[in-house]
Structures are given as C-alpha cells and as structure tokens.
Subunit: 342 residues, 2 copies
DNA sequence: GTTAGCACTCAACTCGAAGGAGTGCTAACA
DNA sequence: TGTTAGCACTCCTTCGAGTTGAGTGCTAAC
C-alpha cells in the first residue's frame, strides 16, 4: 500500500491533534477540523489503512488512534524537510559570557527547560580537540607539584602530582618552559608518544617526571572520569502522566541524577550528527532504556573551534517538536554569537 | 495529663510499629505484641489520652493511630538519649582519599543513599576558615591573569582576572612573592581590610591590581555563588507513597535538582549544631516547605581543621531513624579517619 | 469512491452493597 | 479504681453491576 497525499494529510492531522490534546483522535474530529471535506466514514477507512501500515495505533478497540513511533518518525522527518524552523523568542533569556563555563551551561539548561517545559540537559564541550594555551607546574610542598592547565575557551584544569624525587627551583622553571614551548598550541590528540618521548629526552634528569606530568595533563584535559553534564527541569516530566505512571518516574529521575547514561546519549548524538546539529530520537531510538516512552531532541553546539557539546531536551513522545527544535536552533545561534566575540 | 511510663511504652510501640508497617496501628496490635499484658480496651483508653495530648492521631474515625510530628519528636528525642547509637556496617563502602574533593563527596552521597534507601545530599566543606596554602598569579595573555589558589585540604580554585595595565614579568614575580608571604597560612576571615591596605601599599605601582586579586581570591575561596551540593538517590523517594502522592514528587525532585533550597537547610544545620553533629528535622521543622512530609537527618562532618560540611538524609517521617543516625555516625568517623592521616 | 446508518466494543464513571478494621462507650468484674 | 468483654457504630476499601459515550467496522446505498 502506498502513502498517498491524502493519507499523509490525515496522518499529520491525527498527529498534530494528538500532540495538542494528548487524547486518542477519532475519525469524526479529523473530518470536522480539516479542509479535506470527507465524512468520518471515509476517514475511518483511511485510518484503518494507516493502522495497517503501522503509522498509528489504537490503545483499545473502541478508542481513537494515536501515533506509533513510526508515525512520529514520519512526522518529524517531513517536518524537518518542509521548512527551515524559525527561531523562537526565548523568555527570560540572559546568557552572558561567563568566565566559568559551568555557570553558563547551567544557565542554558535552565533557560531551555523553562522555555520548553520539558527536561533539559547539557554537556560541557569536549576538549579533546582543544588546544593547550598554558601549562604551569608549581611546587606545593616537597612531595607534591600542582599542575595547572588552561585550554582554549579558558577552561582551567588542576591536578596534584605526587613526585618521588625532589626538584630544584631552577629545574622546575626549565621544565615549565619546556612544557609550554613544546605543548602550547597542540591539541590533546596531537600529543602523541613521539612528542612525549622527545620531551622526556629533553627533560634529562627529570625524564621520569615528564611521564607523570603528561599523564596529569591528559587526565586534566579529558575529564572523562565523570561526564560533565548539567540538567534542569527534571521535574517537568511530572507534567506528562505517560512518563510518570507505573513507577516510570523513578527510573527517569534516576537517569537524570546519575548522568552516566545521559553521557552515552550525548556521545551517540555527537557521533551521528548529520550537519544541522539537530537530531530526534523517538522512543527506543535513544540508547537509554528508561527513555523508551520519551522523545529526545539533541542539538550540537559549538563554542569556538572544536569545543563541541550537546544540549538535549527530553519529553514525552507527544512533545511539541516544532517548538523544541526552534528553541534549540535559537540557543545554538545565541551560543555561537556569544563566542564569536572572543 | 501526664505522660507516665505506660503511656510512653504504648506511644513507642505505636511509633515503632508504624515505622515498620507504614499502616495505622490499632489497639489490638499493641495489646498482642507488647509485654504490657493489657487488653485492647485498656490500650484504647490510653491511646485516646495520647491523642488528646497530641502525640498520635487518627487519619479517620475508624482507623488506627499514626504518630503526629510531636510523637516523632518525642520518639527521636528519647531515642537519642537512651543509647549511644552503635555504628552501622556499610555496604559497598569504598572511600578512598581523593585528591578531588568532588569525587569523594559524590562517593559519600552515593554510599549513604544506597545504604539507607533514602535520598542523600552532601555539601562541600565551607572554606571560610580554611588556610591559604599557596597562591600564584600567572599571565595568560597581556590582558588576563590566572589566579590559582590552593587552600588546606588541597582544594584548588581558579579565577581569571582581567587587568587594565600591563605588568612586567619581574613585577609579577614580586607580586607572587608578596602574596604568598603575606597571605600564606591566613584564613579568609583573617584577610581583612587592614591586611589588604598593607598589601596595596607594598605592591606600589600595582596597588590597584592587588584589590582585584584579593577579590578574586575571595571569590575563589567562598564559592558561595552556588552552594556546592551533591545529591544521590533522589529516586528513593518513590519508595514512599506519602512523599510522591498528589504531585508532591515533582516538588521534591525540583528541590533536589535546584539545590538552592538545600543550601538553606545545610546552613541551618551548621548553625544550630548541638555538638554531636547530628540533628533531626521532622516535617515543618526543616526550613524547606516542599519537605513538610519528610524528615531530614543531618550530620556535620569535619575534614581536618575547620573544613566543615553537612550530610543530609531525606526520607519519609516514618524513616528508620535508628539506622539513619547509625549510618551517619559511621560516615562521620570514616571521614574523620580518612583525613587524620594527612 | 464516498457516505449514511447501524450494531458493536470497551474504557470510564457511578452507585450501592458487602466486608472489615478499628473505635468509643457501657457495664461487669477483680 | 483500674481493667476488660461486648456491642453498636463509623468509615475506608473493594468489588461488581449498570450506564454512558466515544469511537469503530461493516454494509448498503448513492
């Protein structure tokens, strides 16, 4: 069977109506509120076809229809083609350039959650491809060095390095100069074994120390120990019974608090980014099983070169995709603006 | 009317039973399961008295009794007097000395939540009374300095300071020496206007810079911008219907995510610490209105000198106070041990 | 191909009866 | 005087029956 123009119209009408009301949609409603001028009986026939094709389904025999995951997928896909999403006016939007990345991210998450009334999450930009701007080793006490690493985007990382042998002030200074001249401007990916070996050689007596320091620098930059993710508006999920009935709320709240799993979703989204930076996961499409009744819309943002992170909005499958995508577009561009001034 | 020994026994029996079952307790249950050897009728009379005195109440006419807030308060108070809580064996306890405070705190919160099956929160130790161990200013670029401040407990803070006038390498070095010699070993509270003025004078040309730096140091140390609080096991609240019915879950989840309000609770707990470090807030006693159906048990912990923080456990009023208090005691002492080795 | 009409289905709601846990009160008992 | 047995009463909870209404599928006519 083919999805002809009329079927498409009816399918879209069903979905739109369901998004608005959250109730199963009957044939009569469609017949009345569309410009198709068809009787409910005709609609019924078409709807039976659409059900057979898997786009919609009935919760029970004598109920209206609701979109299936496949239906939502169709809707989102055609919606994405049709028009370039217009940007959405954000309420209470106050994004200021922050020295502290953390503050900015929390702000963004909050703004997004408040505007959409869904749950929002945001990941700190990954810094693998970030250039090292500044490295400094200082002596905290005879047994410990403090490593401070600043990478592009003014993200600062610290690490305390225990050292076996003492090191003189003079040597420490040399080491600092060495590190800065050799590593400055490199990305973490570029700091490979060859460079490390060369460094060790040049460091001479303190060659063994170099290894520790490089490890510390690596640690500091990758920050993988714990995916830095901020959430906001988790409690918005309580607006949607389909997400909170039957103890589902507990699982979701857990997922949002633990953040571990959110990381995998963000990873996935970064890897499969199509180009617009916006992706929609419906139900099982997301790699998190507690979100099987949710839809997730993710957007990749970029703060300067190579600083990529992901914003995600989690809501019920019947979320207002249009608005959500618009909001994310707006945020994307605002963030872009914000960091272009750098 | 007086609360004689028998009434106390009955009251405790009612509460203990209710804590176990979560169901209103009838006179017959008490008569059967206590060693009082009284008939249910007698118990009924006593229970009527206890109700009149405000210790217990009836959800409806023909139901058993449940403890009132006043009843819980009595129970907790006598329980605290009676015996020194014994320490509780913790499951999956693995606290390692962490360089990163953050990791340690998250660990603690998780362990506590998992062991008690309630929601847990923990605040980073306040650093107002912490001694400055190390200060360093470095030049990031001509317009920005990077201030790194390490305080006792190896907590590292960074701050980027924009500067108006350029500063020579030599002067920067002098400034660093000045800052370290003058501020080292002082607590934030001790760095007062007098010291700042003296510093400015000594800094000479860069006097104005000193002000900025001190502010940055202050900023870095107080970290009040956002109370650093970590939570774990928020979803445990879903185990208790009385906390999640009627949309209460949403409020609570919000409170836990926003953390703002948790800060006030932790503040309150630090200020009114009696000495044991353990406090119990029942219902309205806690300064957070979304927790009016909860009990909160807080414990002050200390990591080395002056590094005080608070752990809190939030659960239903019918929480297992005995176990919760025991768990907190255990954590308190483990943390103490951990940092005594310093 | 479209539509009107009709029988059918099924969730949701209402209502009342039955069940049961627990109380308060009274009167008898030690 | 304190304790207890007994009983009537209350009120929540559960369950099933009946009702309603939205919506469907099918058929026959247009």
């Amino acid at each position: 069977m083919e999805l002809d123009e009329r079927k498409k119209k009816i399918l879209k009408a069903v979905i739109r109506n369901y998004l608005e009301t959250g109730e199963p949609v009957g044939s009569r409603t469609i017949s009345k509120y569309t410009d198709l001028n068809l009787s409910s009986a005709t609609i019924r026939n078409e709807m039976a076809d659409l059900e057979e094709m898997g786009y919609i389904l009935q919760p029970h025999t004598s109920a209206g229809r609701i979109p299936s995951d496949q239906g939502y997928r169709f809707y989102v896909d055609t919606m994405m083609e049709e028009k370039d999403r217009e940007f959405v006016e954000l309420k209470e939007m106050l994004l200021e350039r922050q020295d502290k990345m953390e503050t900015l991210l929390k702000q963004v998450a909050k703004v997004v959650a408040q505007n959409t009334q869904y749950a929002a999450m945001i990941s700190a930009p990954s810094m693998h491809r970030n250039k090292v701007k500044f490295i400094q080793l200082s002596r905290l006490n005879p047994e410990q060095l403090l490593a401070v690493i600043v990478v592009e985007g003014n993200v600062i990382k610290n690490n305390i390095i225990p050292i076996a042998d003492e090191i003189s002030d003079e040597n420490l200074l040399k080491l600092n100069i060495l590190l800065n001249t050799q590593l400055n401007g490199l990305t973490m990916e570029e700091i490979n074994l060859g460079i490390i070996a060369a460094l060790k050689q040049q460091a001479g007596v303190h060659g063994s120390l170099i290894g520790e320091v490089i490890d510390a620098v690596g640690d500091a930059i990758k920050a993988d120990d714990d995916p830095e993710i901020y959430t906001s508006g988790t409690n918005n999920i309580f607006r949607y019974p389909e997400l909170t009935d039957n103890g589902k709320a507990s699982e979701l709240v857990g997922t949002f608090e633990e953040k571990q799993q959110l990381g995998s979703l963000i990873q996935e989204s970064l890897e499969t980014d199509p180009g617009t930076g916006i992706q929609v996961y419906i139900g099982d499409e997301a790699p998190i099983k507690s979100m099987k009744d949710c839809s997730v819309v993710t957007a990749t943002y970029e703060l300067g070169e190579g600083m990529k992170g992901t914003i995600g909005i989690v809501g019920p499958k019947r979320m207002d995709y249009d608005k959500v995508i618009g909001t994310l577009r707006t945020i994307q561009s605002k963030l872009d603006e914000l960091y272009k001034k750098e």
